[in-house]
Symmetry: C2
Subunit: 251 residues, 2 copies
């Protein structure tokens, strides 16, 4: 009783397999190159012939790739490295979550940036970079919650008022600088008046939060030149001391 036909199904050529599985021919070539999926047959002229086991392996490869597993790990997994599938999944989930968290932080920054840009009439590349610098500098000195508080406070304030505050600083700081240069006693009445305005301005920004106030001072100390370039007049550490004396003398 002879066999009616050869019992093996006809093997697939690359193009056929590619069409069947939705992969590209180049991808199959690539898998062959890296030893991930080597067709079990070749025609004498070198054409790849994939048989059933190859097809099954390809399906496994596709499954694992769909889960975002890199090819070299797929190779290790399918080549019998004794790794528990659970570990693989957990490892990838961890990596993925970290990646997502990073991207989310980036998206938040970009969104914050976008709202900042909307406050400016005709933003230039230079403005853009300045704002980014300011944002990243702030991120170094304040915690996420503090930044949130500051953002909320900013939301509730008109742009006009922000300009007023900037003008106030630009008015006060030179006065303080001159007074210090002239060795004016910080407990003198003029300085006391200025110190009151200074304190009010500080509290408007910090909302009375001591943590924020001290972070601001550290930031001004460390990033003086940078902030000056962006904000105009900026207090120095000595000014803080000088005004501190005045405020201390106010009973």
């Amino acid at each position: 009783m002879p066999r009616t036909k050869k019992p093996t199904l006809p093997p697939w050529k690359v193009g056929a397999l590619a069409g069947q599985t939705g992969m590209s021919v180049r991808a199959l070539h690539h898998y062959d190159e890296i030893g991930l999926l080597t067709p079990s047959l070749r025609t004498p002229s070198g054409h790849r012939l994939y048989q059933q086991p190859d097809v099954e392996r390809l399906q496994q490869i596709q499954s694992l790739r769909l889960m975002g597993i890199p090819l070299d790990e797929v190779k290790q997994l399918l080549d019998g490295a004794r790794i528990s599938p659970r570990e693989v999944i957990d490892l990838h989930l961890a990596r993925l979550h970290e990646h997502i968290a990073r991207q989310n932080r980036l998206a938040e920054r970009l969104e914050a940036l976008a709202t900042h840009m909307d406050r400016i009439e005709a933003p230039s590349m230079d403005d853009l970079c300045q704002i980014i610098q300011a944002m990243t500098t702030m991120e170094k000195y304040f915690t996420a919650e503090q930044l949130e508080v500051l953002r909320e406070r900013r939301e509730g304030i008109s742009e006009h008022h922000m300009h007023e505050v900037g003008d106030s600083w630009n008015e006060i700081i030179p006065k303080v600088r001159n007074a210090m240069a002239a060795n004016v006693d910080p407990t003198s009445p003029e300085i006391l008046a200025i110190a009151k305005r200074w304190k009010a301005l500080v509290e408007e920004f910090t909302g009375g939060d001591q943590q924020i106030a001290s972070s601001v001072m550290t930031m001004y100390k460390n990033e003086g030149p940078l902030l000056q370039q962006q904000l105009g007049e900026v207090p120095t550490a000595e000014m803080f001391v000088y005004i501190g004396k005045a405020l201390g003398a106010m009973k």
Copy 2:
């Protein structure tokens, strides 16, 4: 009245600039290679010398890179391509959000996969790939909400019961196949009894949802061999017709 000193600050060498800015020397070389940041001076021996404008440009580059903007776009932006910064930001936000959405979908799939794996005692690579295949196949035939419904239903069912259901199908389907082969009248009492059990099994899975029921039938029609390999006995389209006749005759 002669100048006291030369008015230009001493330029920085790569290592110094790298140290100042936190970049690597290689990165600065790279920026030079691609024409993004070419130092405005070189010593006769070829050492790069960065001057103040170069440093400022580098700071801008760093700012934009912090926002995830690729180097060639940074180059275009800084080289005066007249693109509005807002467009840049919005474009990147859109790309980023799409990317995040993809990663989130992947994470969901991985988490679903993890819970599936926990249902199996000693999961092999093969089991893993089978489950992934099943999941992706389901995703092709059901909407996200339907999948959610099915998942919730699965949560409320013991593993023991799931095995029972599988056994029931494995018992019923051969009976139907035999009856069809023997040309048994679908309105005969034995078939009617089987049809009732069939209907109950179907409803247990679909929860009576017509949309789900019809999606299931399409899936079985299209993916018969695949499902059979994973589930064991699987109904054919003809069986659906046959049982349909029986149920229709039940008044």
